[in-house]
């Protein structure tokens, strides 16, 4: 009767073993500098190349673009091994997990062939350019323009909170190409552009600890050729929203990351003498990471059988962001007065975790979605 099966196939376990062995041989022995610094960005870009050389940078992509055609389950296995090995953060993540799925669904063959291979090797690192100063959680109110010109478009306006943009090569985002469209969601176009093109000014923005984790982009008639438009002009909103929406909810943060963090937290707790005041929170982090892993396996199983996940990604977002923050707050509390120091991996992780409830749709927005779409509660005025 046991149709529920948590064991991986033999092939997947062989894949796991191969990944583990490779990582054991290649993961740098000393941590790379923070990827939010120029030095660290370069080191992380080099790491992407090292991953790519043995086809470990984009395991879920088709082989012809540098991947291994790994399915969702195998990707989860890879991520478990990757983070358990203490491997570096992924500087290519924005491109790999946000732009690439869009290109697979809506790009042209030419775009994929041109854009994906250098993304896989870290030769081109991508920044996202969604937000604008007056459009935070309300993306439909974007005002940056894409104006038609010969053979392409001219971008005008300002983007902000563009993560990785301080040091990245290229960016992607939505621009208003038809300001007269009847509804704000219409008349937006999905474009890729070069961060070093004429007319682009990149102003790095320091996050709470001062590191330039994102940037403002000032765009002054930046020319984008037609070949860098994804999908039909004016259909950008739908493209951005639809693309692999289900899977993206799963792949934004893999369970492997939190399992590894919880493991490190237990090690820290032990190293500090297992102080009782943190016992419950350490246990809850372990349990939370396991719950997130199993939730993801369940969602992946449904996704593989063709079910749509939809608003479940909102519970997912709320859960992992709160787990991550609680886990890091517990770690800092274990460090006591040393928790104040900014030069530890735990404090770097803490600052990063503070952004979890804010970005990719604030948790307030997610709770509204859960209430309306999962619980069927009446639409409030929020």
């Amino acid at each position: 009767m046991p149709a529920v099966d948590l064991s991986h196939s033999r092939a997947d376990e062989e894949f796991r073993a191969e990944a583990r062995a490779w990582l054991a041989a290649h993961v740098p022995r000393t941590p790379l500098p923070s990827l939010e610094t120029a030095e660290g960005f370069a080191a992380h870009r080099a790491w992407e190349a090292e991953l790519a050389a043995d086809r470990w940078s984009v395991v879920s992509w088709p082989k012809r673009y540098g991947g291994r055609d790994a399915g969702l389950l195998r990707w989860l296995v890879f991520e478990e091994e990757y983070w358990a090995a203490g491997a570096p953060g992924r500087v290519g993540q924005n491109g790999i997990s946000l732009l690439a799925p869009t290109l697979f669904d809506h790009g042209t063959q030419e775009q994929r062939a041109r854009v994906l291979p250098p993304m896989a090797t870290g030769e081109a690192v991508w920044a996202q350019a969604w937000s604008e100063p007056e459009a935070g959680s309300d993306l439909a109110s974007l005002t940056s323009r894409a104006v038609r010109t010969d053979g392409g478009w001219l971008l005008r306006g300002q983007k902000t909170w563009s993560s990785r943009a301080a040091f990245a090569d290229r960016a992607f985002g939505l621009f208003r190409s038809d300001p007269d469209a009847p509804k704000p969601h219409q008349g937006l176009t999905y474009l890729m552009f070069d961060l070093r093109a004429p007319g682009v000014t990149v102003r790095p923005i320091g996050r709470l600890d001062g590191k330039p984790a994102f940037a403002e982009l000032f765009l002054d008639d930046v020319f984008v050729p037609d070949e860098d438009v994804i999908g039909e002009p004016g259909r950008g909103w739908r493209i951005a929203m639809s693309t692999a929406g289900d899977e993206r909810g799963l792949t934004l943060r893999s369970p492997g990351r939190f399992l590894a963090s919880a493991h490190r937290l237990v090690a820290l707790w032990r190293a500090r003498g297992c102080p009782e005041h943190a016992r419950a929170r350490v246990a809850d982090a372990v349990v939370g990471a396991r719950a997130y892993q199993l939730f993801t396996y369940a969602a992946a199983s449904r996704s593989l059988e063709g079910e749509e996940l939809g608003p479940e990604s909102s519970t997912n977002k709320v859960f992992w962001s709160e787990l991550d923050l609680a886990l890091h707050e517990t770690a800092l509390d274990l460090l006591g007065p040393e928790g104040e120091r900014a030069d530890t991996d735990w404090s770097e992780g803490y600052v990063f975790s503070l952004a979890g409830p804010l970005y990719a749709g604030t948790n307030e927005i997610q709770r509204d979605i859960i209430a309306e779409r999962l619980l069927g509660l009446p639409k409030g005025r929020r």
């Binding site: 529920v4 994102f214 016992r279 349990v287 209430a371 509660l377």
Partner: protein, 395 residues
Amino acid sequence: MRFLLDAEQRAFTGSLHAMLSAAGTPAVIRDWSRGDPARGRALWSRIAEAGVFGLAVPEDHGGLGRHPVELALAFVELGRHAVPGPLVETVAAAVLLQDLPSAKRFLPGLVAGTDLATVATPLGHALTTTPAPTEPAPDTGPPPTAPTRDPDPARPRLAADTAAARYLAPGPDRAPGTDPAAPQLALDADAATLRLVLTADGLRVATAAAGPPRRSLDPARRLTPLTPDGELLTPDPPRERALTWARLAIAAQALGVGLALLDRTVAYVRQRTQFGVPIGSFQAVRHRLADARTALEFARPLVLGAAVSPRPADVAAAKLMACEAAYTTARAALQLHGAIGYTAEYDLSLWLTKARALRTAWGTPEECREAVLDDALKGHDAPRRPAGPVGEAGP
């Protein structure tokens, strides 16, 4: 790897849900609370007919073989309908008894639902007075499917075993302020037909309830004192395996309680108006229910995962999180119902009070956390690299 129910499992839970819905459990619960178990016994028979108790009993004793996944699914439904009676205790009794030579005296009746069993649990910390064994407790039996979490199958499972053993055999110094000579309380021992007591010398029968029930915060739970005055069935009962199955069942039951509380509260806030609008349109209400939904949504795979591979630490984690999610939901349900939710006559109370009681039955949150951490520490290799930044993508 396929972490999804199959059609047969869905049909099983669906038919159980339909049967329990039709049974009108609130009236059954209220009778039971008053000490009138007639309707409860009738419902119990139908639950047995559906095969629920057979899922914990090997086939050679009239059961269906051990099927923890289906058992957990069934207990979600039992919790969702707040079915009264010593459900978890009957499962624990079946596990305690099934390796005994005398098993066939007891098990067929449990499977058939003609017998209800209870086991004196550590209510009042008076279960036994033996010191915790230092050797590993008996194995929990082979898991139905291979565990996936631990890449090293040879890793000893001492840790959670020890915590569990401590739990079922608390030492005299474990709970200061309690009376070790107090009679042991067992759930619904007045209605049960088979009364078991775990004592220092093993597993014994109690011939009758030793007094009237004490009141529980959940009126449907009749905590009845037992004296181990009967036959010694075995000097070495499988305490740990019984605890594991009991915790799995109670985790599932708590999840079901939480899901029902959420459903009822969602329905209530959609129709209840204040200041001219449904209170479900207030953001504070919406967000509180969204949080309850999230908590339950993440407890569910823990429960199912623990059933797939019932390691003691995983079962403790499921018990912890399912009970906490149910209690969180109960607090939200009470707050959003307001005064009506605070009344015993409104049916919501049947679930509210159960959510609180299940939190501490068969293991408090702290005892469950202890099992989780003992396991995490024992299984803890030094990290392969001392530290590394965890996150980088976004925001």
